[in-house]
Symmetry: C4
Subunit: 235 residues, 4 copies
């Protein structure tokens, strides 16, 4: 069942240690089959060096396991919420990558400080509000998804143009057009977190990129007038 | 004698270079056989690339060598004190991992700034008071254990729930349900030291994780209602 | 056509991942044949692990492709501008190396803080002014070159003595006597960015290297009285 | 000639890339035969991956080449000055390791902030005064040695107990009982520079290690009452 997607999601999970985004099992990647409305996700707490494509768990959009011998990631309900609210995405990643977590713990957005940011994220990467006691105590992982969705709706951010978020006091979720693309965005998020941290230390008032430069860099890689790479719309 | 425990302690010691927790021989791991009241510990000052399981030294709870050709770690008396005071632990680790040492040298606790911390440590990781001249000059390593124990008792911290400490002006000790689990906690301590350092630089007043979130994350991985991983009580 | 230069430019491009200067495809190296006035440059958006010498693209000094199946780097027009304005250079590198980007995003020059800097860069490494809206919207990559050239002319900096620049809110370009030498300067720029960042954090008023020390270090490696290395004029 | 010492100095040089202390050729190690008063040192500007034991250059205590096809390190005169002034040392290392350079460029001593420091350096690691114009312009490398020696004499620091220094606006020199031991001290210096940097950022007034703790740690590894390791006086 969904063997091709399982292989793709497995391979995307294995990119997390490759790109130094995780310690132990602190991360998970999923992908969705939009026709069948089924999500393939990493099992919970399994070490990467023993993980196999066949260990991937299939869940439906209520979060129920449809196939798989292992428990799905404890964050499955967050992934499912994101797939339901953001129909344009087909992959989701959660990590505790250290630079992004540093901003999440500080409760700060990552401002668009330069063109590296603009090449992938079309504006500030938001940090959610802190979750309320009742949101934490009941259906915590589902509510983590809800607070992300609320952030994008209230702040009128397009999740296709800003493919990531920091959950306050927790860490990053990213997404994309596929599981691998979502990992790609997780790598970029970590890298720009590191650079913008140092920029802020050098010059706390120095984040002043012009909107025209952000437009230029985002749009030279995305949309119908993109011209970066070997064909239109590469990412 | 204790061949299984020696192998386990040896393998736990070899995780220190694997996880980049040590420079040269600046670390040691021990494990205890609680039935025989014997501790197995790394020999002092032996390089990791020549260390063998058979080099592990067996000491009793007075710190006397019971078996072994080599001198035990110079920190043996600290390990022994911890085993005597904290009956729930079966492994102890000491390193000079750089981010944790930075907090120890600054004399600062590591506050619980986010869920990565909460997944493993149920509250602030304390830094001991500075040791007194007389504690340093006589039975220094034993007194290092005593000041750790005093910290947990005076501040009413449960060592099973906060499996680590920073010794002031020195560095981290962690412990756990086994030698390997104690190393696991040493890795986590180093990682959260790094992230919380950066959080404090971004926002010195930004450490505001809600107790409910700390409860949620700690208890979803620990205790009878844990649901992370593939079975109850994995760590 | 230009097989030797293609091989050299290919090998120089492959040094970028070797020296950890790039993430994904965020970098490009070119070299010029000054007799034929032809530039060899990396194709746009091709991953380093599949890149071949034969993929290199040949362009003329108007930026037109003369040979090659792939699109040249999207930054080609910047490289070409630099070759036209700075006749003494034969290689150009662009990366998003994180420490240099941190200064670029902060809009700050990298001051000459010590002898490591002085061994390669004879004075501050300038950051350009921010580009104007009209410069961004039309012929952006060409204008990126123009603003670099303006910086060196207005501030009377000799590009042979300061072989690199930070483009404001973007990142570093370096150059040199060959493609490999330009990569060498990119490595140095990243390293001194890191060290000078930390120097500024330790002591914001502590950048006080004497001109005589800068002269000594630069001139012991460069020019007719150089005495570093095994022959005159090694770099 | 001096084949054993050449091999030892060669191997000590090869530890510099192993321990990530150098970029390109920015470092050199020497050793001395105290009976013959001859120094063996790395040749200038030779890449580590082509360096051979046989490339090592032999110089006398006037800095004249006694044997060797290549030019000796451009810093040879500094090494020679140190050997003449500090008869207890038999190895010298110079690097541009980035954390130590950060302090050197800031013109700050590295204070003894914790036991890692105290295990190897018995007190603050001094930074020299800035060199004067005339010291730089004539016999620069020899005068670099002189300003180091002046620092230790004026501040009454014992070079056997504090086996390293930062040359202002330049970088670290370390020394030791052998070439390998001097490299060992260079590794430690870099590590404690990193940790103490972060300590100072966390708590600028937090460097308060008690002299008794410094005494304890230094003397448990050095001198006649040392008890660390497998025999007396290991380092």
């Amino acid at each position: 069942m969904l063997d091709k997607l399982k292989k793709e999601v497995y391979e995307a999970n294995m990119l997390l240690p490759k790109y130094n985004l995780i310690t132990f099992t602190w991360g998970n990647v999923s992908g969705i089959d939009r026709e069948k409305n089924l999500v393939v996700i990493k099992p919970s707490g399994v070490e990467y060096d023993v993980l196999k494509a066949d260990d991937m768990v299939v869940v439906d959009l209520d979060g129920n396991v449809v196939e798989g011998k292992l428990n799905p990631s404890s964050d499955t309900a967050t992934h499912v919420e994101l797939y339901k609210a953001f129909p344009e995405i087909s992959g989701v990643v959660h990590t505790h990558s250290p630079w992004a977590v540093s901003f999440a713990q500080a409760g700060l957005d990552i401002p668009a400080a330069g063109t590296t940011h603009g090449d992938y994220f079309y504006g500030s990467i938001p940090t959610t509000r802190q979750m309320k006691r009742e949101e934490i105590e009941t259906a915590y992982e589902k509510n983590t998804g809800s607070v992300i969705i609320e952030t994008f709706r209230n702040r009128q951010i397009d999740p296709a143009q800003v493919p990531g978020v920091l959950v306050n006091d927790h860490g990053p979720f990213t997404w994309g057009t596929s599981a691998v693309n979502a990992v790609h965005n997780a790598v970029v998020l970590e890298q720009i977190s590191e650079m913008t941290y140092h920029t802020l230390q050098l010059n706390p008032h120095g984040i002043t990129m012009d909107q025209a430069l952000l437009d230029k860099h985002y749009l030279r890689k995305h949309g119908k007038n993109a011209y970066y790479g070997q064909k239109k719309e590469t990412k």
